[in-house]
């Protein structure tokens, strides 16, 4: 029997003036590390809270291993939560915090002691059982919160941006630990975050949410490499969007026209015609020397800026088609071969270009600049 399989069916939550979650459908198989990713206000936290039981859905189903728990009180669901601010009970010490759920379940004292001990070991906090939560660091509190939830052997563990309050270095360490923990314990983790790097790093699969809807679901690689909507392309990493006109589409390859240049792109199953957008990731954009032999998918350009980021080098190029595109070049230690103001040839490999339906009202060149700043800030 599958344990920890979640299925959301037309799940909706409406508040007085806004629809936070709009009839979403989602399936999370048991044992998966699944992330809900999106900007604030997209509905991911509300969805999580409905699964936990703190919000009642307006309509829809929440199926946990086949049973609809949408209207079951939270204390009767086999689901546990790690809260954003940990919510460790201040009046109890670490041991009593972790033992809390076991005491509610009226387990015998000996069993409680054993299980709490194991849980502390799991999160590497053995020996901390007498401490009060105020005496712990942020990272330690987070681990206690984890232990407290995991000790109850839930079918699903819900995590509401648990690393948000920690500094960057600690976050990275704990991301790795959390992922390892999930694989060790083997239960379903449902992880909510607005940090796309976090989601990409940790998840088996993820869902990108926006405005109460799910835009795309898939493995990190698929969602990153093959965004299906403009929003997804833009939210995950730097996108290098360009406006284009469809010439032909097919599942094997497409042809688009960008300001006089005809480019080949990857095939698409989307039904797109007329105006569209094409997207290419910075690390796939190739720079060739000016004067290289022209060929398919080659566009001349002028180097606007070179930004040294340490492990990589960002090269912002103004393409002949008009947009500012960002290329990411590995720092091989051989110096920076690109100079500001010099001409260059851009190669957009066909299998790196993706066609997307056009969004409403965005200016590609502005996008390019924003992406440059975002890229500089993120690296």
């Amino acid at each position: 029997m599958a344990r920890g399989e979640i299925e959301l069916s037309k799940l909706t939550k409406e508040f007085a003036d806004v629809t936070a979650v709009d009839a979403i459908d989602l399936q999370v198989p048991a044992g998966e590390f699944f992330s809900l990713l999106g900007p604030s206000g997209c509905g991911k936290t509300t969805t999580l809270r409905m699964i936990a039981g703190f919000e009642q859905p307006t309509s829809g189903q929440i199926l946990l291993d086949g049973t609809d728990v949408a209207y079951t009180p939270p204390h009767q669901r086999n689901v546990n939560t790690v809260f954003q601010n940990y919510a460790l009970f201040p009046h109890l010490n670490v041991y009593d915090n972790i033992a809390f759920g076991l005491k509610r379940a009226k387990r015998p004292k000996a069993e409680i002691r054993e299980r709490v001990g194991k849980a502390l070991e799991l999160v590497q906090l053995s020996g901390y059982d007498r401490r009060k939560s105020s005496q712990l660091s942020g990272g330690q509190q987070q681990r206690v919160a984890l232990a407290r939830a995991l000790v109850l052997n839930p079918a699903v563990l819900l995590l509401d941006e648990p690393l948000g309050a920690l500094d960057a270095k600690l976050r990275k360490t704990l991301q790795i630990e959390l992922k390892a923990l999930q694989q060790e314990v083997g239960i379903t983790f449902l992880y909510v975050t607005h940090d796309q790097e976090e989601a990409l790093t940790m998840s088996d699969r993820l869902a990108v949410m926006n405005g109460g809807h799910i835009e795309q679901v898939g493995a990190p690689q698929d969602v990153y490499e093959d965004p299906e909507t403009l929003f997804v392309a833009d939210f995950l990493g730097v996108s290098n969007l360009m406006a284009a006109r469809i010439v032909s589409t097919a599942t094997s390859a497409c042809k688009v026209a960008v300001d006089g240049y005809e480019l080949e792109t990857r095939g698409t199953e989307l039904d797109v015609t007329g105006e569209a957008k094409i997207v290419i990731r910075p690390e796939r954009l190739e720079l060739e020397a000016h004067g290289s032999p022209p060929g398919q998918n080659r566009v001349p350009g002028m180097i606007e800026r070179v930004v040294y980021v340490g492990s990589t080098i960002q090269v912002i190029v103004r393409a002949a088609t008009g947009e500012s595109l960002q290329a990411l070049v590995q720092n091989t230690g051989a110096g920076i071969p690109w100079e500001q103001g010099t001409p260059v040839q851009l190669h957009l490999p066909a299998d790196a270009l993706r066609v997307l339906p056009s969004g409403i009202g965005d200016a590609p060149s502005l996008k390019g600049e924003e992406q440059v700043e975002e890229g500089a800030a993120a690296s």
Partner: protein, 310 residues
């Protein structure tokens, strides 16, 4: 300007330039403010200290000091607090009312705070309004209204201890609500949600998680209620039937115009020390409970904010 500079070419760091610098320093402490503050504090506290001092006076004078004596506390066989029945009864009555007030007003107030803080729906606004009203009503208006309601409407209640207790509780409830509600807000709902998440029924979440976390506020509000009740004059007087139902403030009031003895000072001192003790215990309890949770200054902010003292 230049002449001044020229005429003091090499004064160095003289007293004059230091003084000028001190007066002119934009971030320094203006001397005038320091003086006024400490003068105020002295003016505020010293008279009370003198009154306390005279409670230990060996003679009958409240104005001319003789020597130290416990006479007015228990020494004098007729007029000391211990021996004078009117003074003793006043002390007892004050403690009786304050104790009853705490025991009744705090539980009602805590429940009311919980209810008002989380009640959505019709009636919550009006109820909140009703709760706030006693805080802004002048005591004489409340005294008149209570006296009239007991003499014209609820005539089965006569003036006396019961009426006084009822009056005290009525104005105390709002203080409890405001203090507890402030603490409720700081706590938020995260702990109860965590408790429910871990399997606690709503009842358990309320009693085993929320109430313990409310303890500092409950203790603080108990201390505040005690202090307010002990200090109350108007309601106690209006609902008193004289004699043994007079409280310490009433005794002080009636004695002051006559030719009172230092025993009045003594009874006032006893009351004051008791109240200060209880308030200090309340405050320290609050501090002890919330030590890990926040900086010390925020506790004062919580209580102050609770009364909208901004």
């Amino acid at each position: 300007m230049t002449t001044v500079a020229e005429s003091r070419p090499s004064e160095g760091f003289s007293t004059w330039s230091r003084l000028r610098g001190w007066l002119r320093n934009p971030w320094g402490k203006p001397r005038f403010l320091v003086l006024i503050t400490w003068a105020y504090i002295l003016w505020s506290i010293v008279p009370v200290l003198i009154a306390v001092q005279f409670s230990f006076n060996a003679t009958r004078s409240r104005t001319v000091w003789d020597s130290f004596s416990w006479r007015w506390y228990w020494g004098d066989p007729v007029d000391s607090v211990w021996h004078d029945p009117t003074l003793r009864h006043a002390l007892v009555q004050s403690f009786k009312l304050a104790g009853a007030d705490v025991l009744i007003a705090v539980p009602i107030g805590v429940l009311l705070a919980l209810g008002l803080a989380r009640w959505r729906g019709r009636g919550s606004g009006v109820s909140n309004f009703i709760m706030l009203f006693p805080l802004v009503t002048p005591e004489i208006v409340m005294g008149v209204s209570l006296l009239l309601v007991f003499s014209e409407l609820f005539t089965f209640i006569h003036t006396g201890t019961v009426a006084q207790i009822l009056g005290h509780v009525t104005f105390s409830i709002s203080f409890v609500v405001v203090i507890v509600r402030g603490r409720l807000f700081s706590i938020g709902r995260q702990y109860e949600e965590a408790a429910a998440d871990l399997g606690a029924s709503p009842f358990v979440a309320l009693t085993r998680v929320l109430l313990p976390l409310l303890t500092p506020a409950i203790v603080a509000s108990a201390a505040v209620v005690f202090a307010i009740s002990a200090d109350d004059f108007v309601i106690s007087q209006w609902l008193s039937e004289g004699g043994p139902t007079d409280t310490v403030p009433i005794r002080i009031y009636s004695a002051t115009r006559a030719a009172p003895l230092p025993s009045v000072n003594a009874i006032a001192t006893i009351m004051m020390v008791s109240t200060l003790l209880i308030v200090t215990i309340g405050f320290l309890t609050w501090r002890a409970f919330t030590r890990g949770e926040r900086r010390a200054g925020k506790a004062a902010e919580d209580i102050g904010g609770a009364f909208n003292l901004t």
